[in-house]
Assembly symmetry: C2
Homo-oligomer: 157 residues x 2
DNA sequence: GCATAACCGACCGCTTCAGTAGGATTTGAA
DNA sequence: TTCAAATCCTACTGAAGCGGTCGGTTATGC
């Protein structure tokens, strides 16, 4: 698996928040119940989302969580990265301050990484998919009728 | 990380085999030395490649491994899948006999997976990158001069 | 002041990763 | 025919991450 359930649960949580139109916060408990996920585990995940500035929280009774930005401005690369950590196809990939992607093998006089081209392409494909999908899209998609959804999915393939 | 070092090592191994023009087999030991990887670990990886029909082996003295097909006909989705197992963005994705990708959440009366659209796109991006890259490309890429490689990589971004 | 929430840290069983170790088997060559 | 080189196979191990659970603390509305 490329991603663990942290991404799955976390995205579902975000979608659930995105569904609520009102400005009042949603409690984690109600999200957990709606999505049938363990509350105490969601607490860990939402903490990551909060630290990443994707949701805001209000404490105390009738508290809960809200999206920090409108759903149209939240892209999935930020969400998944907050949950799973740096997204790279391979250990040796780390983003340099400047050029974005570097392979740590290259510096040691070694003649170049034979795999770099491959991982660059994979990286490109993944980030394009994640950055090109907004939370608003997922919210809308999940509230559509089944036939309409099928049509959307066909357009992906 | 999307993939573990199994994919990294395995692809390097394949490239190393692809480099050898002759029809005589290459010993794992020489590959391990050339790529500076632990021989006994490579044994596990090459076993997966063999079982997947990507390499063939000849035992005994002066034995070793060869590509089972010309490098132009070997695409990286087969290689990576042999090493890492089924490639899917999420646990709940499994390929049905017919339709390719299904989400296991959908069957239980639950109204649809809010994440499906996202994972479909990710899946598409990854398989496109993997299936669109041949071993021959990587072999050629890795034997190019540094400036030429840089030009190729620029074209990816 | 009490219920309801967000917060925080520790712990736990399980699986995978990245190797290591040791041996068995096959084969070419001396 | 014996030796060395190689594949093959199984079992083991330490470390890390996954998917939670639990208990407790703090903040807040009623």
């Amino acid at each position: 698996m490329l991603f663990s359930t942290k991404a799955e649960y976390g995205v579902r949580l975000m979608v659930e928040l995105g569904r609520q139109p009102g400005s009042q916060p949603v409690s984690l408990g109600s999200v957990a119940e709606a999505e049938n996920l363990p509350l105490s585990y969601l607490e860990h995940l939402v903490a990551k989302l909060r630290k990443a500035g994707l949701v805001t929280s209000t404490r105390g009774a009738h508290g809960g969580y809200r999206l920090a930005k409108p759903a149209e401005e939240i892209t999935m690369d930020a969400v998944v990265e907050a949950l799973e950590g740096q997204i790279a196809p391979m250990e040796c990939f780390h983003d340099s301050p400047e050029g974005k992607v570097l392979c740590s093998h290259e510096s040691d006089g070694d003649d170049a990484c034979s795999t770099k081209l491959l991982w660059m392409r994979v990286q490109g494909g993944v980030t394009k998919a994640l950055a090109g999908t907004t939370l608003a899209e997922l919210v809308e998609f999940s509230t559509r009728s089944a036939p309409t959804r099928a049509a959307v999915l066909d357009s992906v393939a």
